[in-house]
């Protein structure tokens, strides 16, 4: 009977459990996590903070998930080292493995900022515990300063907006959501968020914190009750690097999710993935990506050879009720349509006879058809471009491809 050990308890870990169990119903699976919770969905913490998701619904899988899958759990336990067929725990214990998955995710990056140590109520926004900590401090009218206008910062801002906090967002960049939006889309979104009362101060940074205010590089001073720092994340790669595994921006794996260390696999936000839309290696810190990588890792660990292909950056997210779906790379010839009044924006990016990426804001219906164009590398010459530009639809494919797709064999 094989012994599987998984470090981490989020999407990649759950994907691995399901992957292993789809191949091996017998082997012993142990999940080690430093968080004390049944697996929960990390992206849901903002919904939880907002109050839209209850304690019961934040869980990523049903309560009997571990029992049903015959998984032994070691929650609230930190793994400190791996190697030699053992995981060493913070309490000195050792857990033996035949196959190990490192699914340690990432951690918030807090850059050195002058005076930050004087701020008592400062938070990051990465875990349920961090959301719980923020919630304790926020009531109606609480002044919140958020450093970082990226996905995490703005998701946090949206949640706090529903709690009627007074929010200011500061970012060194001169636009919001630069990782997923282009300049124009960012402007529309910014305007939308501002219309709800959230303030942005962009192209600036904090020069000096004091306990309840921050002096900015542009000379302004922002008063706050609490600060949330959301400038970025860093992958948790230490376990692998210290064991001699190859690590660059994140943990390096092959297409089967195997690291350079024998019998050790890695998946999720801690790893580097191959982005087929831009032909580059990058960290794709996305829940669907993590789950699928974990699943592939799990299957390989259990002996079924399979590879993870066609990973691309993609995001489905909404802020203050305005939806965005994006995918792929924006490097190429762009085709943009916009309806400012309706807060609708659409950008299609073409290169090498393929659809490479897109941004849909406002009207996101059926976006997955575009995603499949990118992922499956369907040549543009096979589709009706006019229809493709109009909206995502099956009609744009030729009869043969449409029949094949609608037969639902995927």
């Amino acid at each position: 009977m094989k012994k599987y050990v998984i470090i981490g308890n989020s999407a990649a870990a759950i994907g691995a459990v399901q992957g292993i169990r789809s191949v091996d119903t017998e082997g012993m699976i142990t999940v080690i996590s430093d968080e004390p919770y049944h697996t929960y969905s990390r992206p849901l913490i903002s919904y939880w903070l907002e109050g839209k998701v209850t304690d019961e619904k934040i869980y990523y899988r049903e309560p009997d998930f571990y029992e049903k899958n015959n998984v032994m759990t070691m929650f609230g336990t930190r793994a400190v080292a791996i190697g030699g067929g053992y995981v060493t725990l913070a309490n000195g214990g050792k857990v033996q493995y035949d196959k190990l998955l490192v699914a340690t995710g990432s951690k918030p990056f807090v850059p050195p900022m002058a005076g930050l140590e004087d701020v008592k109520d400062k938070f990051t926004f990465m875990t349920w515990d961090s959301a719980k900590a923020i919630k304790e401090k926020v009531t109606s009218g609480t002044k919140v300063l958020i450093i970082g206008a990226g996905l995490i910062g703005l998701k946090c801002a949206e949640a706090l907006y529903h709690l009627e906090a007074d929010i200011t967002v500061v970012d060194l960049a001169d636009r919001i959501l630069p990782s997923i939006l282009d300049v124009r889309a960012g402007q529309i979104m910014q305007k939308h968020i501002e219309s709800k009362g959230t303030k942005f101060i962009l192209g600036t940074s904090v020069e000096q914190f004091s306990e309840h205010s921050a002096k900015l590089t542009n000379g302004d001073t922002v008063d706050f009750d609490i600060v949330v720092i959301a400038v970025g994340v860093r992958p948790n790669t230490e376990l692998v690097s210290e064991a001699g595994g190859k690590v660059e921006k994140g943990i390096i794996t092959d297409l089967t999710q195997k690291t350079t260390i024998p019998d050790v696999y890695a998946a999720g936000d801690c790893t580097v993935s191959y982005d087929s839309s831009s032909d580059t290696q990058k960290i794709l810190a996305l829940l669907p990506n993590a789950f699928m990588q974990g699943e592939v890792a799990g299957k390989n660990m259990a002996g079924e050879e399979t590879v993870y292909l066609n990973a691309i950056p993609m995001n489905a997210i909404g802020f203050y009720g305005l939806h965005i779906i994006t995918a792929g790379s924006y490097d190429g010839q762009a085709d943009v349509t916009e309806n400012e009044e309706k807060e609708q924006y659409k950008k299609l990016v073409f290169k090498d006879g393929l659809l490479k990426g897109y941004i849909l804001m406002g009207d996101v219906a059926r976006a997955g058809i575009y995603t499949s164009m990118i992922r499956e590398r369907i040549p543009l010459e096979d589709v009706d471009i006019e229809l493709l530009r109009t909206r995502p639809q099956m009609m744009m494919f030729g009869k043969a491809r449409r029949d094949e797709k609608l037969a639902g064999k995927m």
Binding site: A316, R366, A367, S372, M394, K405, G408, M410
Partner: protein, 144 residues
């Protein structure tokens, strides 16, 4: 497994499948009540039409469902081959909309959660209503 398939040769773009679907899954006891007072319940099947070609599209219930793998809440799951959504767990993030290669996850402005075809397993219609309601047998429920 029996699934719903469309035969575009026979689709008349009457859109009745959409109305039957919307009504059957609206919780209202009949179609008139489902649409009464300006209500516009959502259909999980959508008709695409052009001058000469029409067809209805709804969930293919993929053997490897990207929507389920992508779901951030666990609301989407597969049971006996049927991909369905526990709408009480959906937060409307639309990651499934992003993932579905057929554009078969429907967004609802009213409920803020997604709607998708569950082959009428959650209502009392037996076979899917879109199939039963199609006047030209363009939509069929069969094993292929």
């Amino acid at each position: 497994m029996k699934k719903v398939y469309v035969n575009e040769e026979w689709c008349l773009a009457c859109h009745l499948c959409e109305y039957y679907c919307a009504a059957a899954n609206s919780g209202a006891e009949n179609m008139i009540k489902a649409f009464a007072n300006g209500k516009k319940p959502i259909s999980a099947i959508q008709v695409e039409e052009s001058d000469s070609i029409n067809f209805a599209v709804q969930c293919r219930h993929c053997p490897v469902p990207l929507c389920v793998k992508s779901c951030i809440t666990g609301a989407l799951s597969v049971k006996d081959g049927v991909v369905s959504c526990d709408e009480s767990r959906c937060v409307g993030c639309y990651t499934c909309v992003l993932a579905c290669p057929y554009g078969c996850i429907v967004t609802s402005e009213q409920s803020k959660v997604i709607r998708k075809c569950d082959l009428c397993t959650k209502n009392n219609n037996g076979d899917p209503v879109c199939v039963k309601g199609c006047p030209n047998r363009a939509i069929v429920f069969e094993e292929r």
